[in-house]
């Protein structure tokens, strides 16, 4: 009886496992051990990457029905941010005060709200005033960044990869504080003007949330403090980072990349997504547009070239480790697994993907946030009726999703080319993963990623062996999707409704 019930509960997972097992036995005997293990490991590497994009997609869709088309761009931003931090921190350090200042300005919205809603402005002047404020904000914003050598700040890394021995030699200098200080100030002003326009001066029909303004006030204060700190460490910071131990720097890069992704996610959710929950189609279009803008901006800063980020020292000592334990001591580039020479960094990616899945599953299952997310997936209104601020949970989950993708991006950077098309590539795979696994299910995303990664790897192997077009492996993912959707229209573990 127990077995029967277990089968009923988990039949999808078990069937997939059985099919995979059968396929691998078949593969093992027809391919031979070495190619089989190598291909499987390559597949796992891809699976890990797909999962990192898909996890955020599926979480965000499950909880708030938002299809985030900029999720791939978040992976790309993570990759660029981490790569820049690792090889050329001048860029991030130079940008930080400006970004924080603008964010502080934009956050003024809820602070200004109660003040300006009571202003006496004739109706026909209200919209003109808003337009005027926005134009003014743009002008000031442009003035604020006029003359900043963004490309100069960004480009050091290109040079740095060439003079690999001493990236410091070519570091672009930061603008001196004496002329720089006005920029964050102006950007804060520009952001505050936009916030003022958004606060709709004179429009008394807008509901004012008092405690919201208090909270925003505190956030503004915090951001302003960050602006000051960032301005002060702007010049000395990059040197300090570059002289730290390479492994530590890589860990820091992972953290910075994740934070950039999560921070950007939070900003996107609060400014672009949250006003549009009543118009889901617009949300889709806005995230698509965002993906486009991000890829253009990146091309502007770093040219449409692919860059290779060097691996941290823990994965770049010459020679092959005899086994995993030897690798932990030696930090070799490759490691011997069941007789297969495999790049050690790829094992790190697999481990990162597995860690992410396990961590996410534990968070969803055992924390209060996870409980709220699972409940919110089913019934947001009721969660709110329990006294829980669902909007804040949305922002948090969106940021979590983009942060995970960004972490995947910086994790991937040392072994895939860092280039402006990586966003679209991983977005596509991420979506297929989520559709296969079932929208809203984290375990589904993991299973989907596993299937896709293996299909890609074995597809490539077959294409190479029988000299077929490599398009066959790309097509295989879509074929899998079609088969799964025929059998299970909601995806493997999707909600059946």
């Amino acid at each position: 009886m127990k077995i029967k019930a277990f089968w009923r509960e988990n039949n999808t997972l078990l069937s997939v496992a059985l099919i995979l097992l059968a396929l691998s036995i078949f593969g093992l005997f027809s391919m031979g051990l070495e190619p089989f293990v190598r291909t499987t490991l390559s597949g796992f590497t891809l699976s890990a990457l797909y999962f990192m994009v898909a996890a955020g997609l599926t979480l965000v869709f499950g909880l708030m029905d938002v299809l985030n088309f900029s999720q791939g761009s978040m992976l790309m931003i993570g990759a660029y941010a981490g790569w820049q931090f690792y090889t050329n921190p001048t860029f991030l350090f130079g940008l930080a005060p400006l970004v924080f200042a603008l964010m502080a300005g934009l956050t003024m919205m809820a602070v200004l709200h109660p003040l300006v809603s009571k202003w006496r402005i004739p109706e026909q002047w209200q919209s003109r005033l808003r337009a005027l404020l926005l134009v003014l904000a743009v002008v000031i914003g442009v003035l604020a960044v006029a003359g900043v050598d963004f490309r100069g700040l960004a480009s050091t890394a290109m040079v740095a990869t060439m003079v690999a021995g001493n990236p410091l030699a070519e570091a672009t200098l930061q603008e001196p504080l004496a002329s720089f200080w006005i920029r964050p100030l102006l950007l804060f002003l520009s952001g505050a003007l936009i916030a003022l326009a958004q606060a709709r001066p004179g429009d008394s029909t807008v509901v004012v949330y008092k405690d919201q303004s208090r909270r925003s006030g505190m956030i503004v204060a915090g951001l302003l403090a960050l602006v000051i700190v960032a301005t002060l460490v702007r010049e000395s910071g990059p040197l300090a980072v570059l002289t730290t131990n390479g492994n530590l720097r890589f860990v820091l890069a992972l953290i910075v990349g994740t934070l950039v992704g999560a921070g950007l996610g939070a900003v996107i959710e609060t400014t672009l997504i949250s006003p549009l929950y009543v118009r889901p189609l617009y949300q889709v279009i806005i995230t698509m547009g965002l993906a486009f803008v991000i890829s253009e901006l990146i091309q502007l800063l770093w040219d449409p070239l692919p860059y290779a980020m060097s691996r941290p020292p823990a994965f770049s000592q010459p020679g092959k480790a005899e086994n995993i334990w030897a690798f932990f001591q030696g930090g070799n580039t490759t490691v011997d697994i069941l007789g297969v020479t495999f790049p050690s960094y790829r094992l790190f990616i697999i481990a990162l993907g597995v860690l992410m899945f396990v961590g996410l599953t534990l968070v969803l299952k055992y924390t209060r946030l996870g409980m709220i997310i699972r409940a919110g997936v089913q019934d947001r209104e009721m969660v709110e009726a329990l006294g829980i601020n669902v909007k804040r949970v949305f922002t948090l989950v969106f940021a979590l999703g983009t942060g995970l993708a960004a972490l995947g991006g910086i994790g991937a950077a040392p072994f895939v080319p860092v280039e402006p098309v990586m966003g679209d590539r991983y977005l596509m795979q991420g979506f297929i993963t989520v559709v296969i696994g079932g929208m809203g299910s984290t375990t589904g995303a993991a299973v989907g990623a596993l299937l896709l990664g293996l299909a890609r790897a074995f597809g490539d192997y077959l294409a190479l062996k029988f000299s077929l077009s490599p398009a066959i492996s790309e097509a295989s993912t879509v074929i899998i999707m079609a088969i799964v959707l025929l059998a299970r229209p909601a995806g493997l573990l999707g909600r059946r409704e």
């Binding site: 019934d379 329990l386 829980i388």
Partner: protein, 252 residues
């Protein structure tokens, strides 16, 4: 100092859903430590009234005072956190959460559940046995009990309970009534109930809503004898049940 009579005062609220004008002037006053019932036909706007109080569908005109405080401009989660528990219609528990989690999620302070466990399991002993089960394994009656229990976890001064007897077997209705009567000893209850027998035995005060407007109010004891009024607003079907209810068992 005037003794505060009403914990909740809903004053001529108008609520819109999209462009639909759903509530066109609903007034309800709920006395402290009483059970007040909202009556009305299907689609009259009872559920919408509860949701308007909670801010899930905020009223555009009119005002709501809870515990002496204006609720206008507050969001649903703030209103709930002021001490209002909500038991939605159709047994809306979280089906993919376990019974334990369904209760745990309603905590507003750490340890709420531990503090209230004895009280809750006293009212609904079944839940203790089902504690670890996922919500979707529960029967309809058990789900309804869980929905009520969930509203009891935090310290709520007011409970909004929407059709607790919906689809329950008679014996379970009896049990549910007993539970509501018992919990009303410590909190105030605003009840929506189609089962007139149950409503009449539980509540001390009633408000009738018809077509989005408050049309009648008074003490339950008077309504029971006013067959014409009951017939006019609640339909013929309940008349039989009124006849069956031979006196008021509610009140405290």
């Amino acid at each position: 100092m005037v003794e505060q009579d009403f914990i909740l005062e809903v004053d001529a609220i108008h609520t819109f859903i999209g462009q639909f004008h759903i509530l066109e002037g609903v007034t309800v006053q709920v006395r402290c430590n009483s059970i007040t019932v909202l009556l009305g036909r299907n689609g009259a706007g009872k559920t919408t009234t509860l949701k308007s109080i909670l801010g899930l569908t905020p009223p555009r005109i009119g005002r709501v005072l809870f515990d002496g405080r204006e609720l206008q401009g507050k969001r649903a989660y703030d209103i709930a956190a002021m001490g209002i528990g909500f038991v939605p219609e159709h047994r809306a528990i979280f089906r993919n959460l376990s019974v334990a989690e369904n209760l745990r999620i309603a905590e507003r302070k750490k340890g709420d559940l531990e503090r209230k466990a004895e009280f809750i399991f006293g009212l609904f002993p079944d839940l203790k046995r089902l504690y670890k089960l996922p919500g979707n394994h529960l029967s309809g009656g058990q789900q309804q009990m869980l929905a009520v229990a969930r509203a009891l976890v935090a310290d709520n001064k007011l409970l909004l309970i929407d059709e607790p007897s919906e689809g329950l077997a008679p014996i379970l209705i009896e049990q549910m009534m007993e539970a509501i009567r018992e919990l009303s000893a410590t909190t105030t209850v605003l009840l929506v109930e189609q089962n007139f027998l149950m409503a009449s035995r539980l509540a001390q005060y009633y408000y009738i809503i018809d077509d989005g407007k408050s049309v009648h109010q008074g003490e339950m004891a008077d309504l029971i004898h006013d067959e014409a009024l009951v017939h006019q607003y609640l339909g013929a079907s309940v008349r039989v049940e009124v006849g069956a209810s031979s006196g008021r068992g509610g009140g405290k």
